[in-house]
Symmetry: C2
Subunit: 271 residues, 2 copies
Protein backbone atom coordinates (compact mmCIF):
# COMPACT_ATOMS: atom_id res chain seq x y z
CA UNK A 1 0.00 0.00 0.00
CA UNK A 2 1.30 3.45 -0.86
CA UNK A 3 2.10 5.75 2.02
CA UNK A 4 -0.40 8.53 2.41
CA UNK A 5 0.88 11.75 0.82
CA UNK A 6 2.07 14.22 3.38
CA UNK A 7 0.76 17.77 3.24
CA UNK A 8 3.40 20.16 1.86
CA UNK A 9 3.10 22.24 5.06
CA UNK A 10 4.03 19.22 7.18
CA UNK A 11 6.94 18.49 4.86
CA UNK A 12 8.18 22.07 5.21
CA UNK A 13 7.97 21.84 9.00
CA UNK A 14 9.74 18.51 9.41
CA UNK A 15 12.40 18.79 12.10
CA UNK A 16 14.81 16.09 13.25
CA UNK A 17 16.53 16.13 16.63
CA UNK A 18 20.28 15.73 16.08
CA UNK A 19 23.18 14.82 18.33
CA UNK A 20 24.34 18.47 18.36
CA UNK A 21 21.24 19.36 20.39
CA UNK A 22 19.75 21.25 17.46
CA UNK A 23 16.69 20.50 15.38
CA UNK A 24 17.52 20.08 11.72
CA UNK A 25 15.22 20.95 8.84
CA UNK A 26 15.25 21.91 5.22
CA UNK A 27 13.38 24.55 3.23
CA UNK A 28 11.04 23.18 0.57
CA UNK A 29 10.46 24.63 -2.90
CA UNK A 30 6.70 24.55 -2.28
CA UNK A 31 6.98 27.44 0.19
CA UNK A 32 9.57 29.53 -1.67
CA UNK A 33 9.09 33.29 -1.74
CA UNK A 34 10.92 35.84 -3.93
CA UNK A 35 14.01 35.40 -1.74
CA UNK A 36 14.12 32.37 0.56
CA UNK A 37 11.01 30.80 2.07
CA UNK A 38 7.65 32.41 2.91
CA UNK A 39 8.05 34.20 6.25
CA UNK A 40 4.93 32.50 7.56
CA UNK A 41 6.51 29.08 7.18
CA UNK A 42 9.65 30.29 8.97
CA UNK A 43 7.46 31.55 11.82
CA UNK A 44 5.60 28.23 11.88
CA UNK A 45 8.88 26.30 11.92
CA UNK A 46 10.20 28.22 14.93
CA UNK A 47 6.91 27.75 16.77
CA UNK A 48 6.89 24.05 15.91
CA UNK A 49 10.43 23.76 17.31
CA UNK A 50 9.10 25.07 20.64
CA UNK A 51 6.10 22.72 20.50
CA UNK A 52 8.49 19.79 19.96
CA UNK A 53 10.59 20.61 23.01
CA UNK A 54 10.34 17.86 25.65
CA UNK A 55 9.94 20.41 28.47
CA UNK A 56 7.23 22.42 26.76
CA UNK A 57 4.11 22.96 28.85
CA UNK A 58 0.88 24.54 27.73
CA UNK A 59 -0.19 26.05 24.44
CA UNK A 60 1.34 28.85 22.38
CA UNK A 61 0.29 32.27 23.70
CA UNK A 62 2.66 34.62 21.88
CA UNK A 63 5.33 34.49 19.19
CA UNK A 64 7.66 37.19 17.91
CA UNK A 65 9.81 36.29 14.92
CA UNK A 66 12.60 38.53 13.66
CA UNK A 67 13.71 38.07 10.06
CA UNK A 68 17.38 38.73 10.63
CA UNK A 69 18.99 37.75 7.32
CA UNK A 70 17.81 36.16 4.08
CA UNK A 71 17.04 32.48 4.62
CA UNK A 72 18.54 30.55 1.72
CA UNK A 73 17.02 27.44 0.21
CA UNK A 74 18.45 24.34 1.83
CA UNK A 75 19.33 23.01 5.26
CA UNK A 76 18.86 24.89 8.50
CA UNK A 77 19.17 24.19 12.19
CA UNK A 78 16.98 25.46 15.01
CA UNK A 79 18.26 26.09 18.54
CA UNK A 80 15.55 26.20 21.21
CA UNK A 81 16.21 27.43 24.72
CA UNK A 82 13.67 27.32 27.53
CA UNK A 83 14.54 30.54 29.35
CA UNK A 84 12.14 30.04 32.22
CA UNK A 85 9.30 27.83 33.43
CA UNK A 86 6.82 29.64 35.66
CA UNK A 87 3.77 28.18 37.35
CA UNK A 88 1.49 28.88 34.40
CA UNK A 89 3.75 29.91 31.53
CA UNK A 90 7.11 29.35 29.86
CA UNK A 91 9.41 31.69 27.97
CA UNK A 92 11.48 30.61 24.99
CA UNK A 93 14.27 31.96 22.77
CA UNK A 94 14.67 30.33 19.37
CA UNK A 95 17.24 30.83 16.61
CA UNK A 96 17.32 29.54 13.05
CA UNK A 97 20.87 29.00 11.82
CA UNK A 98 22.32 28.38 8.35
CA UNK A 99 26.06 27.88 7.88
CA UNK A 100 26.68 29.15 11.41
CA UNK A 101 24.83 32.40 10.67
CA UNK A 102 21.67 33.26 12.59
CA UNK A 103 19.01 34.01 9.97
CA UNK A 104 15.97 34.33 12.23
CA UNK A 105 15.35 34.78 15.93
CA UNK A 106 12.18 34.34 17.92
CA UNK A 107 10.81 34.64 21.39
CA UNK A 108 7.75 32.64 22.35
CA UNK A 109 5.49 32.27 25.35
CA UNK A 110 3.55 29.10 26.03
CA UNK A 111 1.12 28.73 28.89
CA UNK A 112 -1.84 27.14 30.50
CA UNK A 113 -5.24 28.68 29.94
CA UNK A 114 -7.90 28.64 32.63
CA UNK A 115 -11.51 29.57 32.49
CA UNK A 116 -12.17 33.25 33.26
CA UNK A 117 -14.51 36.02 32.28
CA UNK A 118 -14.10 36.55 28.58
CA UNK A 119 -15.11 38.95 25.86
CA UNK A 120 -14.00 39.74 22.34
CA UNK A 121 -14.07 43.50 22.10
CA UNK A 122 -13.02 44.02 18.51
CA UNK A 123 -15.46 43.26 15.74
CA UNK A 124 -15.03 40.72 12.98
CA UNK A 125 -14.93 42.30 9.53
CA UNK A 126 -17.95 41.88 7.33
CA UNK A 127 -17.41 39.65 4.32
CA UNK A 128 -19.73 37.88 1.88
CA UNK A 129 -20.23 34.13 2.41
CA UNK A 130 -17.20 32.02 1.47
CA UNK A 131 -18.78 30.34 -1.55
CA UNK A 132 -19.82 33.67 -3.11
CA UNK A 133 -16.24 35.01 -3.18
CA UNK A 134 -14.24 33.60 -6.11
CA UNK A 135 -10.85 31.98 -5.56
CA UNK A 136 -8.30 34.40 -6.96
CA UNK A 137 -4.61 34.01 -7.45
CA UNK A 138 -1.53 35.68 -6.20
CA UNK A 139 0.99 36.30 -9.03
CA UNK A 140 2.26 33.01 -10.44
CA UNK A 141 5.90 33.61 -9.52
CA UNK A 142 5.10 33.48 -5.78
CA UNK A 143 5.44 29.74 -5.17
CA UNK A 144 4.24 29.66 -1.57
CA UNK A 145 0.91 31.25 -2.43
CA UNK A 146 -0.07 28.13 -4.37
CA UNK A 147 -0.39 26.42 -0.97
CA UNK A 148 -3.30 28.62 0.01
CA UNK A 149 -6.75 29.26 -1.37
CA UNK A 150 -7.34 32.98 -1.36
CA UNK A 151 -10.81 34.46 -1.68
CA UNK A 152 -10.40 38.21 -1.40
CA UNK A 153 -13.49 39.97 -0.10
CA UNK A 154 -11.66 43.32 -0.01
CA UNK A 155 -8.24 44.57 -1.06
CA UNK A 156 -7.07 41.91 -3.55
CA UNK A 157 -3.56 42.12 -4.99
CA UNK A 158 -3.47 45.22 -7.23
CA UNK A 159 -3.41 44.45 -10.94
CA UNK A 160 -1.22 46.17 -13.52
CA UNK A 161 -2.33 49.78 -13.79
CA UNK A 162 -4.17 49.89 -10.48
CA UNK A 163 -4.02 53.36 -8.99
CA UNK A 164 -3.34 54.48 -5.45
CA UNK A 165 -6.10 53.84 -2.94
CA UNK A 166 -6.71 55.58 0.39
CA UNK A 167 -7.00 52.44 2.54
CA UNK A 168 -4.84 49.36 2.96
CA UNK A 169 -7.36 46.91 4.36
CA UNK A 170 -7.37 43.42 2.91
CA UNK A 171 -10.00 40.93 4.06
CA UNK A 172 -10.00 37.41 2.68
CA UNK A 173 -11.23 33.92 3.23
CA UNK A 174 -8.15 31.72 3.31
CA UNK A 175 -7.20 28.11 3.93
CA UNK A 176 -4.37 25.73 3.20
CA UNK A 177 -4.39 24.07 -0.25
CA UNK A 178 -4.88 21.15 -0.10
CA UNK A 179 -7.12 21.65 2.92
CA UNK A 180 -5.43 20.75 6.21
CA UNK A 181 -6.70 20.70 9.80
CA UNK A 182 -5.68 23.89 11.57
CA UNK A 183 -3.01 23.79 14.26
CA UNK A 184 -0.94 26.48 15.97
CA UNK A 185 1.83 26.24 13.38
CA UNK A 186 -0.50 26.69 10.41
CA UNK A 187 -2.30 29.50 12.22
CA UNK A 188 1.08 31.20 12.77
CA UNK A 189 1.76 30.92 9.04
CA UNK A 190 -1.67 32.23 8.07
CA UNK A 191 -0.94 35.35 10.15
CA UNK A 192 1.64 36.20 7.46
CA UNK A 193 -0.42 35.57 4.30
CA UNK A 194 -1.14 39.26 3.72
CA UNK A 195 0.85 40.62 0.80
CA UNK A 196 2.61 43.90 1.69
CA UNK A 197 0.03 46.62 2.48
CA UNK A 198 2.10 49.21 0.62
CA UNK A 199 1.37 47.37 -2.67
CA UNK A 200 -2.33 48.03 -2.16
CA UNK A 201 -1.90 51.68 -1.18
CA UNK A 202 0.46 52.41 -4.08
CA UNK A 203 -1.28 50.19 -6.62
CA UNK A 204 1.90 48.36 -7.57
CA UNK A 205 4.51 45.92 -6.35
CA UNK A 206 7.92 46.93 -5.04
CA UNK A 207 10.66 45.44 -2.89
CA UNK A 208 9.23 44.79 0.59
CA UNK A 209 9.76 42.30 3.39
CA UNK A 210 8.72 41.63 6.96
CA UNK A 211 11.34 42.58 9.55
CA UNK A 212 9.56 41.44 12.70
CA UNK A 213 6.23 39.67 13.27
CA UNK A 214 4.31 39.27 16.53
CA UNK A 215 1.28 37.02 16.95
CA UNK A 216 -0.93 36.52 19.99
CA UNK A 217 -2.78 33.20 19.96
CA UNK A 218 -6.30 33.42 21.35
CA UNK A 219 -7.40 29.95 20.31
CA UNK A 220 -7.54 27.01 22.62
CA UNK A 221 -6.70 23.62 21.10
CA UNK A 222 -10.37 22.62 20.98
CA UNK A 223 -11.17 25.76 18.98
CA UNK A 224 -8.50 24.82 16.44
CA UNK A 225 -10.01 21.34 16.26
CA UNK A 226 -13.42 22.87 15.67
CA UNK A 227 -12.02 25.15 12.95
CA UNK A 228 -10.75 22.02 11.21
CA UNK A 229 -9.86 22.54 7.57
CA UNK A 230 -12.48 25.21 6.90
CA UNK A 231 -11.68 28.69 5.63
CA UNK A 232 -10.65 31.41 8.05
CA UNK A 233 -11.47 35.09 7.71
CA UNK A 234 -8.22 37.05 7.72
CA UNK A 235 -8.02 40.82 7.77
CA UNK A 236 -5.13 43.29 8.02
CA UNK A 237 -4.45 46.96 7.53
CA UNK A 238 -1.44 49.25 7.67
CA UNK A 239 -1.12 51.77 10.46
CA UNK A 240 1.69 54.11 9.40
CA UNK A 241 3.87 54.13 6.27
CA UNK A 242 7.01 56.29 6.38
CA UNK A 243 10.76 56.39 5.81
CA UNK A 244 10.90 52.96 4.20
CA UNK A 245 8.87 51.11 6.83
CA UNK A 246 5.26 50.41 7.67
CA UNK A 247 3.48 48.46 10.37
CA UNK A 248 0.31 46.47 10.00
CA UNK A 249 -2.17 44.84 12.37
CA UNK A 250 -4.46 41.95 11.55
CA UNK A 251 -6.83 39.38 12.94
CA UNK A 252 -7.74 35.79 12.07
CA UNK A 253 -11.37 34.73 12.66
CA UNK A 254 -13.39 31.57 12.22
CA UNK A 255 -16.47 31.71 9.99
CA UNK A 256 -18.50 31.56 13.23
CA UNK A 257 -16.86 34.78 14.43
CA UNK A 258 -14.34 33.46 16.93
CA UNK A 259 -11.09 35.44 17.08
CA UNK A 260 -8.21 32.96 16.84
CA UNK A 261 -5.23 35.30 16.64
CA UNK A 262 -4.18 38.93 16.49
CA UNK A 263 -1.01 39.67 14.56
CA UNK A 264 1.26 42.65 13.98
CA UNK A 265 4.32 43.22 11.86
CA UNK A 266 6.87 45.80 10.78
CA UNK A 267 7.78 45.73 7.10
CA UNK A 268 10.46 47.52 5.09
CA UNK A 269 9.75 48.76 1.58
CA UNK A 270 11.58 50.52 -1.22
CA UNK A 271 9.36 52.76 -3.29
Amino acid sequence: MAEPTRHPFDEALELTQAADGLLHGRTTPAYANMVGPFGGVTAATLLRAVEHHPERQGEPLALTVNFVAPVTEGDFAVAVRCVRTNRTNQHWIVEMIQDEVTVATATAVTGRRRDTWSDTEIQAPTAPPIETVPVTGIPEFIAWAKNYEFRFAEGAVPVEGAGEVPGSTTTLWVRDRPARALDYASLAAICDVFYPRVFLRRGRMMAAGTITLTTYFHAEAHQLDAAGDNYLLATARGNKFHDGYFDQSGEIWTPAGELLATTHQLVYFKD
Copy 2:
Protein backbone atom coordinates in the same frame (compact mmCIF):
# COMPACT_ATOMS: atom_id res chain seq x y z
CA MET B 1 27.55 75.09 42.62
CA ALA B 2 25.22 72.16 43.23
CA GLU B 3 25.03 69.50 40.55
CA PRO B 4 21.82 69.67 38.57
CA THR B 5 19.30 67.12 39.83
CA ARG B 6 18.99 64.17 37.52
CA HIS B 7 15.57 63.16 36.33
CA PRO B 8 14.37 59.99 38.13
CA PHE B 9 13.93 58.32 34.72
CA ASP B 10 17.61 58.87 33.89
CA GLU B 11 18.57 57.55 37.31
CA ALA B 12 16.50 54.41 36.72
CA LEU B 13 18.17 53.85 33.34
CA GLU B 14 21.75 54.34 34.45
CA LEU B 15 23.90 51.50 33.11
CA THR B 16 27.60 50.94 33.67
CA GLN B 17 29.77 48.82 31.41
CA ALA B 18 31.60 46.26 33.54
CA ALA B 19 34.61 44.03 32.97
CA ASP B 20 32.32 40.98 32.61
CA GLY B 21 31.01 42.45 29.34
CA LEU B 22 27.62 43.15 30.87
CA LEU B 23 25.91 46.44 31.60
CA HIS B 24 25.12 46.83 35.28
CA GLY B 25 22.17 48.77 36.67
CA ARG B 26 19.93 48.98 39.69
CA THR B 27 16.17 49.33 40.07
CA THR B 28 15.05 52.55 41.74
CA PRO B 29 12.21 52.92 44.26
CA ALA B 30 10.77 55.77 42.17
CA TYR B 31 9.65 53.30 39.48
CA ALA B 32 8.47 50.49 41.73
CA ASN B 33 5.28 48.69 40.78
CA MET B 34 3.23 46.25 42.90
CA VAL B 35 5.94 43.60 42.35
CA GLY B 36 9.30 44.78 41.01
CA PRO B 37 9.70 47.80 38.75
CA PHE B 38 7.22 49.29 36.26
CA GLY B 39 7.39 47.20 33.08
CA GLY B 40 7.82 50.33 30.99
CA VAL B 41 11.06 51.17 32.74
CA THR B 42 12.32 47.62 32.19
CA ALA B 43 11.50 47.97 28.48
CA ALA B 44 13.25 51.34 28.40
CA THR B 45 16.30 49.91 30.15
CA LEU B 46 16.66 47.09 27.61
CA LEU B 47 16.27 49.53 24.72
CA ARG B 48 18.80 51.90 26.30
CA ALA B 49 21.25 49.00 26.59
CA VAL B 50 20.98 48.53 22.81
CA GLU B 51 21.35 52.28 22.21
CA HIS B 52 24.53 52.25 24.32
CA HIS B 53 26.14 49.46 22.32
CA PRO B 54 29.26 50.67 20.48
CA GLU B 55 28.25 48.86 17.28
CA ARG B 56 24.70 50.18 17.21
CA GLN B 57 23.68 51.85 13.95
CA GLY B 58 20.48 53.70 13.25
CA GLU B 59 17.44 54.38 15.38
CA PRO B 60 15.12 51.99 17.22
CA LEU B 61 12.51 50.53 14.88
CA ALA B 62 11.01 47.70 16.94
CA LEU B 63 11.26 46.29 20.44
CA THR B 64 9.71 43.18 21.95
CA VAL B 65 10.18 42.69 25.69
CA ASN B 66 9.21 39.48 27.46
CA PHE B 67 8.60 39.67 31.20
CA VAL B 68 10.04 36.31 32.07
CA ALA B 69 10.18 36.35 35.88
CA PRO B 70 9.52 38.90 38.61
CA VAL B 71 12.26 41.54 38.62
CA THR B 72 13.27 42.13 42.22
CA GLU B 73 14.36 45.48 43.63
CA GLY B 74 18.13 45.81 43.45
CA ASP B 75 21.01 45.15 41.09
CA PHE B 76 20.65 43.69 37.63
CA ALA B 77 22.88 43.04 34.64
CA VAL B 78 22.02 43.39 30.96
CA ALA B 79 23.60 41.25 28.23
CA VAL B 80 23.34 42.71 24.74
CA ARG B 81 24.14 40.71 21.63
CA CYS B 82 24.21 42.14 18.13
CA VAL B 83 22.86 39.17 16.17
CA ARG B 84 23.32 40.70 12.74
CA THR B 85 24.20 43.94 10.99
CA ASN B 86 22.56 44.33 7.60
CA ARG B 87 22.97 47.20 5.17
CA THR B 88 20.14 49.22 6.66
CA ASN B 89 19.20 47.48 9.91
CA GLN B 90 20.52 45.55 12.89
CA HIS B 91 18.99 42.79 15.00
CA TRP B 92 19.56 42.47 18.74
CA ILE B 93 18.91 40.00 21.55
CA VAL B 94 18.95 41.39 25.08
CA GLU B 95 18.62 39.71 28.47
CA MET B 96 18.17 41.17 31.93
CA ILE B 97 19.74 38.99 34.60
CA GLN B 98 19.48 38.99 38.40
CA ASP B 99 21.42 36.45 40.48
CA GLU B 100 22.18 34.44 37.34
CA VAL B 101 18.48 34.16 36.51
CA THR B 102 17.11 35.71 33.31
CA VAL B 103 14.20 37.92 34.38
CA ALA B 104 13.47 39.62 31.03
CA THR B 105 14.37 39.02 27.41
CA ALA B 106 14.05 41.32 24.44
CA THR B 107 14.62 41.44 20.74
CA ALA B 108 15.14 44.78 19.07
CA VAL B 109 15.62 46.11 15.57
CA THR B 110 17.48 49.32 14.87
CA GLY B 111 17.82 50.79 11.41
CA ARG B 112 18.34 53.70 9.11
CA ARG B 113 15.31 55.56 7.88
CA ARG B 114 15.22 57.08 4.41
CA ASP B 115 12.74 59.40 2.81
CA THR B 116 9.88 57.58 1.05
CA TRP B 117 6.22 57.99 0.34
CA SER B 118 4.48 58.19 3.68
CA ASP B 119 1.01 58.19 5.12
CA THR B 120 -0.57 57.63 8.51
CA GLU B 121 -3.63 55.54 7.88
CA ILE B 122 -5.03 55.20 11.37
CA GLN B 123 -6.73 58.18 12.95
CA ALA B 124 -5.69 59.91 16.13
CA PRO B 125 -8.32 59.67 18.87
CA THR B 126 -10.32 62.77 19.64
CA ALA B 127 -9.57 64.32 23.01
CA PRO B 128 -10.28 67.69 24.61
CA PRO B 129 -7.35 70.16 24.76
CA ILE B 130 -4.68 69.24 27.31
CA GLU B 131 -5.36 72.12 29.69
CA THR B 132 -9.08 71.34 29.91
CA VAL B 133 -8.49 67.77 31.16
CA PRO B 134 -7.67 67.67 34.88
CA VAL B 135 -4.60 65.85 36.16
CA THR B 136 -5.88 62.75 37.92
CA GLY B 137 -4.06 60.20 39.94
CA ILE B 138 -3.39 56.54 39.76
CA PRO B 139 -3.88 54.87 43.16
CA GLU B 140 -1.30 56.09 45.67
CA PHE B 141 0.32 52.70 46.22
CA ILE B 142 1.58 52.57 42.63
CA ALA B 143 4.92 54.36 43.07
CA TRP B 144 5.92 54.56 39.38
CA ALA B 145 2.76 56.41 38.43
CA LYS B 146 3.93 59.43 40.43
CA ASN B 147 6.53 59.92 37.68
CA TYR B 148 3.84 60.70 35.10
CA GLU B 149 1.16 63.32 34.77
CA PHE B 150 -2.01 61.58 33.67
CA ARG B 151 -4.91 63.53 32.20
CA PHE B 152 -7.55 60.95 31.31
CA ALA B 153 -9.84 62.03 28.47
CA GLU B 154 -11.54 58.63 28.42
CA GLY B 155 -11.34 55.47 30.48
CA ALA B 156 -9.76 56.65 33.74
CA VAL B 157 -8.89 54.11 36.43
CA PRO B 158 -12.19 52.74 37.78
CA VAL B 159 -13.10 53.95 41.23
CA GLU B 160 -14.51 51.81 44.05
CA GLY B 161 -17.95 50.61 43.04
CA ALA B 162 -17.52 51.26 39.32
CA GLY B 163 -19.54 48.79 37.29
CA GLU B 164 -18.65 46.82 34.21
CA VAL B 165 -18.38 48.80 30.98
CA PRO B 166 -18.65 47.52 27.41
CA GLY B 167 -15.43 49.11 26.10
CA SER B 168 -11.84 49.13 27.31
CA THR B 169 -10.51 52.22 25.55
CA THR B 170 -8.40 54.59 27.60
CA THR B 171 -7.20 57.84 26.04
CA LEU B 172 -5.04 60.20 28.03
CA TRP B 173 -2.65 63.08 27.82
CA VAL B 174 0.54 61.94 29.51
CA ARG B 175 4.07 63.16 30.15
CA ASP B 176 6.94 62.52 32.50
CA ARG B 177 6.79 64.27 35.88
CA PRO B 178 8.91 66.33 36.20
CA ALA B 179 8.71 67.10 32.48
CA ARG B 180 11.59 65.58 30.49
CA ALA B 181 12.52 65.81 26.81
CA LEU B 182 11.23 62.76 24.95
CA ASP B 183 13.67 60.13 23.71
CA TYR B 184 13.24 56.57 22.46
CA ALA B 185 13.65 55.12 25.94
CA SER B 186 10.99 57.35 27.50
CA LEU B 187 8.69 56.70 24.54
CA ALA B 188 9.18 52.95 25.09
CA ALA B 189 8.18 53.40 28.72
CA ILE B 190 5.13 55.54 27.88
CA CYS B 191 3.90 52.67 25.67
CA ASP B 192 3.34 50.76 28.91
CA VAL B 193 1.55 53.45 30.99
CA PHE B 194 -1.90 51.98 30.39
CA TYR B 195 -3.25 50.27 33.50
CA PRO B 196 -4.63 46.78 32.71
CA ARG B 197 -7.61 47.04 30.35
CA VAL B 198 -9.44 44.32 32.27
CA PHE B 199 -9.72 46.67 35.28
CA LEU B 200 -11.75 49.08 33.14
CA ARG B 201 -14.00 46.40 31.67
CA ARG B 202 -14.67 44.77 35.04
CA GLY B 203 -14.81 47.98 37.05
CA ARG B 204 -12.29 46.76 39.61
CA MET B 205 -8.64 45.88 40.14
CA MET B 206 -7.29 42.34 40.18
CA ALA B 207 -3.95 40.61 39.74
CA ALA B 208 -2.67 41.33 36.23
CA GLY B 209 0.67 41.76 34.52
CA THR B 210 2.19 42.18 31.09
CA ILE B 211 3.75 39.00 29.67
CA THR B 212 5.12 40.37 26.41
CA LEU B 213 5.18 43.87 24.92
CA THR B 214 5.95 44.87 21.33
CA THR B 215 6.46 48.46 20.19
CA TYR B 216 7.07 49.81 16.70
CA PHE B 217 8.79 53.20 16.70
CA HIS B 218 7.55 55.52 13.97
CA ALA B 219 9.32 58.63 15.21
CA GLU B 220 12.52 59.96 13.73
CA ALA B 221 14.92 61.61 16.18
CA HIS B 222 13.94 65.10 14.99
CA GLN B 223 10.29 64.32 15.73
CA LEU B 224 11.22 63.34 19.28
CA ASP B 225 13.15 66.59 19.60
CA ALA B 226 10.10 68.50 18.35
CA ALA B 227 7.86 66.66 20.82
CA GLY B 228 10.17 67.89 23.59
CA ASP B 229 8.67 67.70 27.05
CA ASN B 230 5.11 68.35 25.98
CA TYR B 231 2.22 65.97 26.66
CA LEU B 232 1.58 63.03 24.36
CA LEU B 233 -1.82 61.60 23.51
CA ALA B 234 -1.83 57.91 24.40
CA THR B 235 -4.66 55.54 23.61
CA ALA B 236 -5.14 51.79 24.05
CA ARG B 237 -7.88 49.21 23.96
CA GLY B 238 -8.23 45.50 24.57
CA ASN B 239 -8.89 43.15 21.69
CA LYS B 240 -9.84 39.83 23.27
CA PHE B 241 -10.12 38.80 26.93
CA HIS B 242 -10.31 35.08 27.66
CA ASP B 243 -8.86 32.23 29.70
CA GLY B 244 -6.78 34.45 31.94
CA TYR B 245 -5.20 36.55 29.18
CA PHE B 246 -5.99 39.58 27.09
CA ASP B 247 -4.18 41.52 24.40
CA GLN B 248 -4.26 45.24 23.85
CA SER B 249 -3.17 47.61 21.09
CA GLY B 250 -2.32 51.26 21.50
CA GLU B 251 -0.84 54.30 19.86
CA ILE B 252 1.17 57.30 21.04
CA TRP B 253 0.56 60.62 19.25
CA THR B 254 1.91 64.15 19.50
CA PRO B 255 -0.57 66.97 20.16
CA ALA B 256 -0.05 67.93 16.48
CA GLY B 257 -1.31 64.50 15.38
CA GLU B 258 1.94 62.74 14.51
CA LEU B 259 1.97 59.02 15.30
CA LEU B 260 5.16 58.28 17.26
CA ALA B 261 4.63 54.62 18.16
CA THR B 262 2.21 51.71 17.92
CA THR B 263 2.32 49.23 20.78
CA HIS B 264 0.82 45.84 21.57
CA GLN B 265 0.92 43.59 24.59
CA LEU B 266 -0.35 40.32 26.02
CA VAL B 267 -1.39 40.47 29.66
CA TYR B 268 -2.39 37.79 32.16
CA PHE B 269 -5.12 38.39 34.69
CA LYS B 270 -6.80 36.55 37.55
CA ASP B 271 -10.45 37.45 37.97
